[in-house]
Symmetry: C2
Subunit: 341 residues, 2 copies
């Protein structure tokens, strides 16, 4: 089952079911007005959503319209929690190196996770408005899951069954603001502006064998201005799987339905154990600019790929083994914010 | 105008107006079902709420019931954003000293702020369930404001008019988990379980002269097991006022209506510039246990006040100049969590 939220007069948009091939959609307002409302009572509402999804596939549904990702908000346009892990420790090691910081050994055993802002997400085709290029604008391609209610202290084994949806994320990051914020110790705030999510969120069963209950085993594809930037395998080098991240988040408090838990930037080592080569050099590339800049620094003493400029376009997508898009594409242009100063 | 959220079948409770003296309440469902719904459209809804509040004071309202804080959720039982500052730098200096960490000079000019979990708040009289005393359970008494929609890049001057409500917070903290989390650089997560809020949230005009548009000038009273623990002046030693905190939060992204911005632990220096004496020694005391432990360490080489134990009771309240409670009391007992392990 694939779900989207269509832009509508309300802040939370209108829940819609989307056909498996993303060609058509039907509003699901008769079942639940919004995705949050569906998640608030998932066990009761899911069967009705599945019936409508089956009708959409069979052609029996009424009010079917062509599906256009441009008309989508994030599946949850605003959420009560966005807890972003950093499960691909290879990424953490690289960006730390880029900042001249060491990676503590404990990072391989104790998940890194930050509380992200969740009140103002961007849709998959929305522009990314930011006031200054000098902040070092970067994208981060990630996988995220959405949970129902998770009890405090949940075990890793039990956490898996709380995963109700899977989607993609562009965790926009301002590299120039990160070192100062991390040095203060209170985590990211200004350095993490609004994140964007894929057009659809997908139930785990719709992912077939690519989903093993804990990780998603497919390449995550990123491109920059139409040029392939990365296609690392999301199921490889993920040091902490999603149930582990959920259990970490729920150690001292419950997680409310609609909690989004992110994987962090998907990042693979090379087959030889090295930090991963650019696509241009036959590697799997990267899911953010910070990584390639570190590789360039290691190779040439200085980074040469610039951070994002106004007008740059980032695309993040995942294809199934047949080459069909699963979540639709996050496809965003960075633009200059001209509002309040 | 004073607003509360009564426990009800839904996750977001039922919006109610509360009389100025907190004796009576009337459900406001005819105006807005929930506080979030009211904040989503505050300019349009506020006049109707004020009419109902006037009817409540005059005795003209129908369906008036006695007001009982025990029946309250947090004014926002779940919120889209909880951005907690640390505006009383005196507090930061003391807890850093307690950890053996230095205070960078920049902390006096650049606000500290962390993104808090906002999906599962506690009501003012709810127990605080936690699995282990060994985590170093502490309370933190704070002031918080609730905003309407704040544009990205808002100026400090413009930020003030986005403050719609004021309330009190118990920002429960797990001192034993903080050093490890801050060392990782990603901020608080497990060390900040669910926060609790006062029974009512109050519009700034209802605070009279105590509210100057940026700070609240009254003592914040905390007690532990019925014994006064602190009564520092919330308007004193607040290095960063609320408009400054809001502008900081909104530097790189908009803040959605219903954003809660916290002051951090209210903390005063002594008149002589020292770090503040305990109530028992004639001082204004503290808004958390970590501070008195640091004072004890400075005086005697070791802390003697223990962190909270199961069964301990924390009360946080603010009285007006006539001794009447403004927000009602946060009055919570720490209990052992017996759920999932």
């Amino acid at each position: 089952m694939k779900l989207a939220t269509l832009k509508d007069h309300g802040r939370d948009g209108a829940l819609a079911l989307v056909s498996r091939d993303l060609s058509h959609a039907v509003r699901a307002g008769s079942v639940a007005p919004t995705l949050q409302a569906a998640l608030d009572d998932w066990a009761a509402i899911e069967p009705d959503l599945r019936r409508l999804a089956a009708d959409l596939e069979s052609g029996a549904a009424e009010g079917v319209v062509p599906f256009d990702p441009v008309e989508c908000c994030a599946p949850l346009p605003r959420a009560y929690q966005w807890a972003d892990g950093s499960a691909y420790v290879n990424h953490v090691e690289l960006v730390r190196k880029a900042r001249g910081a060491e990676l503590p050994e404990s990072f391989w055993e104790d998940p890194l996770m930050y509380q992200g802002g969740s009140d103002s997400f961007l849709g998959p085709a929305d522009d990314v408005p930011l006031a200054g290029e000098e902040w070092g604008i970067d994208f981060e391609a990630e996988i995220a899951v959405v949970t129902d209610d998770v009890p405090m202290g949940v075990s890793v084994a039990d956490a898996a069954r709380h995963i109700k949806l899977v989607m993609l994320v562009n965790d926009v990051s301002l590299r120039g603001l990160i070192p100062g914020e991390l040095a203060k110790g209170f985590g990211f705030f200004q350095s993490k502006p609004s994140s964007a999510f894929s057009p659809v969120a997908v139930t785990p069963d719709a992912l077939g064998e690519a989903w093993d209950g804990a990780k998603l085993h497919l390449p995550l594809r990123s491109s920059l201005n139409g040029k392939e930037f990365g296609r690392p395998e999301a199921g490889v080098d993920m040091t902490f799987d999603f149930p582990t991240l959920i259990a970490h988040a729920a150690k001292t408090r419950p997680l409310a339905a609609g909690t989004i838990v992110g994987s962090g930037t998907v990042s693979n080592r090379d087959a030889d154990g090295g930090p991963g080569k650019p696509v241009a050099d036959g590697g799997l590339g990267y899911s953010c600019i910070a990584e390639i800049r570190m590789i360039e620094t290691i190779a040439d003493g200085a980074p040469k790929t610039p951070f994002l400029r106004f007008g740059d376009r980032v695309r993040i997508e995942m294809l199934d083994r047949d080459g069909a898009t699963i979540f639709g594409a996050i496809d965003q242009t960075i633009v200059k914010y001209e509002g309040s100063a």
